[in-house]
Amino acid sequence: MASSSSSGLTFKLHPLVMVNISDHYTRVKSQMNPPVTSTSCSNTNGNGNGEGGDSAAVKAPPPPPRVYGCVIGVQRGRTVEIFNSFELLYDSATDSLDRAFLLKKQELYKKVFPNFYVLGWYSTGSDAEESDMHIHKALMDINESPVYVLLNPAINHAQKDLPVTIYESEMHVIDGIPQLIFVNSSYTIETVEAERISVDHVAHLKPSDGGSAATQLAAHLTSIHSAIKMLNSRIRVLHHYLVAMQKGEIPYENSLLRQVSSLLRRLPAIESEKFQDDFLMEYSDTLLITYLAMFTNCSSTMNELVEKFNTAYDRHSRRGGRTAFI
């Protein structure tokens, strides 16, 4: 199915489209009903087989749902720029997308973005399928050569690039029959300033409730800590290497030694007494603040402990009183 496209079109994809598709997919997946239990499943099968259902194997997890939608954008000359996307309902009876809804949506978007045209459609999955061709052909009356954007929702940590592929349709002769097939096209990512900021924001937001000062401080300190750790390990490697060289296990390499020596000569950046003074003063200030914070922490724990203790053991406290619930 996938060979390089020869149409000569350059595709530019905006991050908004990818975020939209992934959001659509995530929503649908999380709203799915939980899978049917194994016993009821085997009951429907077991009666036919005449066997008990209890020993049936666990049912395989349901296949991930496929979501569908339209992509819109601008085509200028040979450059196709995909700006935005919206969702569509897939009608499995007729095996096509809901045409009325699509037209209505198209009208609405035309009012807001007069320049944008329907450029194609999107779906999720690992690879393009035969049934996709029907949808593709159905869209050909809106756009002569629609574009098919496929997002692979499977999370693969080893994969370095984006799991998005763009397909075009071309007429090829296979076994003597001219057929439309999907061919792979390359694309580039194009960002507007607003998109860049939001992507950056999402990328750095690791904790779920992120944004409070404490988590930001923790994230900042963690990144500094990992940077220092990496520096430490690199220096250790260098040190180990130099020691081995000194012992004679490794032959002398003068160019490397020269580099190390120049690095060392650059080292004492600030060595004056005034710097020491200021540095120590600031260091002790920070330590004092930490000390104060620890004190407050301890005091509050102590306070709670004493209150609990008094509630449990103090004979002279309030008897049987109901404190106002505020």
């Binding site: 002790s284 000390y291 301890c298 402990l305 609990k308 509630t311 053991y313």
Partner: protein, 461 residues
């Protein structure tokens, strides 16, 4: 070793024969008391030697030793030579029982010298795991050791062995054992305060006997006074004075007297009222026993040295009988210091004669001595110009910029972190305490206004 053993066995066999012959003519002994013959002790010794290898054997040995303990005590006089056959570091448990039986009876002065030697050697070399199987016996024996050391009037000899003993018997450095106050008492009598201070560095979290805590804090306070660490002494004495007690005891009364004096030396003031968390019996009764001290505090706050000195002279015997005369003298000298310190806040430079007049000293020479002493102790910062007899007061040169300061803060933070962890643990334990949960459940509002689910009226524990 074998031949020797057999030989003594033969000797003892003849002893036993003679004894048996004697017994036949006597009425048979009552069956409740088992007379332990030398033979049995010998076999016990070999048993100890055999069973001190692995931990399981030691436990079995412990059970056996408990059975024969009573009988051993009856033979206390004759057990001494058997101790030489045992090695204190390997056969610690058996050695302990034998030594304990040896010392259970009254001990004369000559015996005491010998016993002190043996016990100190034992304490320094015994094995910790075996000792921990019989802590009460060990503690009792150590207390008797302390008595013997006092009997021969050489408290210094008991200090090092007792310190080792304390470290061996306490389950962790946070536990207070009954040996702590005995050790501190010996330190006080031997005047080696530094060793005592090393024990006071530990923070105590677990206490079994309240009397131990009282004595520990009282003696600890006295040691700190001896070392002139008045702040820590104040802390320790404060613990005694505000400790929970249903009825006051003599230790607390004495501690209250010293507490008053130390707070005068350190803070320059003393309020006789105790904080709210002190026990009610303490709040009511201390004043009755410590009247002269409270009056001393009142006189001190007036700020007139002559009055203070006449007061001290008047009640001299009372202070002396409480052994507090030295402290009282320090209180008087602290008054001079405080007055000189007050001068630093008003004047930048002052002549020695003026200082003598203001502080009511006799001469400029005395004033110079006082100021010099205070500069040395670090209580004021000043320079004395000998030519014209002027004293110039300076600011505290400490900038808090050195790495020493940083180390101090860092170690304090570490201590605070461990304390915080302990507090959270205690808090969690308290939340699970059944008494607390019962009371907390009872005090809940019957109906929650937000939702109309019926809240359970009380927890049935």
């Amino acid at each position: 070793m074998e031949a020797g053993k057999r030989k003594t066995e033969e000797e003892q066999q003849t002893l036993v024969d003679r004894k048996r012959k004697a017994e036949i003519s006597e009425p048979p002994p009552p069956t409740t008391t088992t007379t332990v013959t030398m033979n049995a002790v010998e076999s016990l010794v070999t048993q100890i030697q055999g069973l001190s290898g692995s931990p399981n054997d030691v436990v079995a040995l412990h059970a056996h030793l408990n059975k024969v303990d009573e009988a051993l005590r009856g033979e206390s006089a004759r057990l001494l030579p058997f101790l030489d056959q045992l090695d204190p570091s390997i056969h610690s448990l058996g050695y302990l029982y034998l030594l304990d039986a040896c010392t259970s009876g009254p001990v004369s002065k000559e015996q005491a010298t010998n016993l002190v030697l043996i016990t100190s050697r034992f304490l320094t070399s015994c094995s910790t795991e075996q000792i921990r199987l019989a802590p009460e016996k060990f503690t009792g024996m150590c207390k008797r050791f302390k008595d013997q050391v006092l009997l021969i009037e050489a408290p210094m000899r008991g200090v090092a062995p007792l310190l080792v003993a304390v470290r061996k018997v306490q389950p962790s450095s946070e536990h207070l054992t009954s040996l702590h106050p005995d050790f501190l008492q010996l330190c006080l009598l031997a005047k080696c305060y530094k060793t005592g201070v090393s024990l006071l560095e530990d923070d105590i979290f677990e206490v079994t006997q309240p009397r131990d805590l009282f004595l520990y804090c009282y003696y600890g306070g006295m040691i700190c006074i001896g070392q002139k660490h008045f702040q820590k002494a104040l802390e320790l004495l404060h613990n005694v004075v505000t400790a929970p007690m249903t009825s006051i005891n003599a230790i607390a009364v004495e501690a209250y007297k010293k507490y008053a004096l130390v707070s005068l030396i350190d803070n320059g003031q003393f309020s006789p009222s105790l904080p709210k968390y002190a026990s009610s019996s303490a709040q009511r009764n201390f004043k009755n026993f410590c009247q002269p001290y409270i009056e001393l505090a009142n006189t001190y706050s007036n700020g007139k040295i002559a009055e203070l000195e006449t007061f001290v002279q008047k009640h001299r015997e009372k202070f002396d009988s409480d052994n507090n005369l030295g402290l009282v003298k320090q209180v008087v000298s602290s008054m001079y210091k405080r007055n000189i310190q007050r001068l630093t806040q008003t004047y930048l430079t002052l002549s020695l004669q003026d200082i003598a007049n203001t502080v009511q000293l006799n001469s400029a020479k005395e004033a110079e001595m006082h100021v010099l002493q205070m500069i040395q102790d670090g209580e004021i910062f000043a320079t004395i110009n000998q030519k014209d007899g002027m004293v110039r007061f300076l600011e505290d040169p400490e900038q808090y910029k050195s790495s020493g300061v940083i180390e101090r803060i860092d170690s304090s933070i570490q201590r605070l972190m461990t304390l915080s962890k302990k507090l959270t643990n205690m808090d969690e334990q308290m939340s699970c305490d059944s008494l607390y949960l019962a009371k907390a459940g009872r005090e809940r509002q019957r109906f929650d206004f937000d939702d109309f689910d019926s809240v359970p009226q009380k927890f049935n524990m």
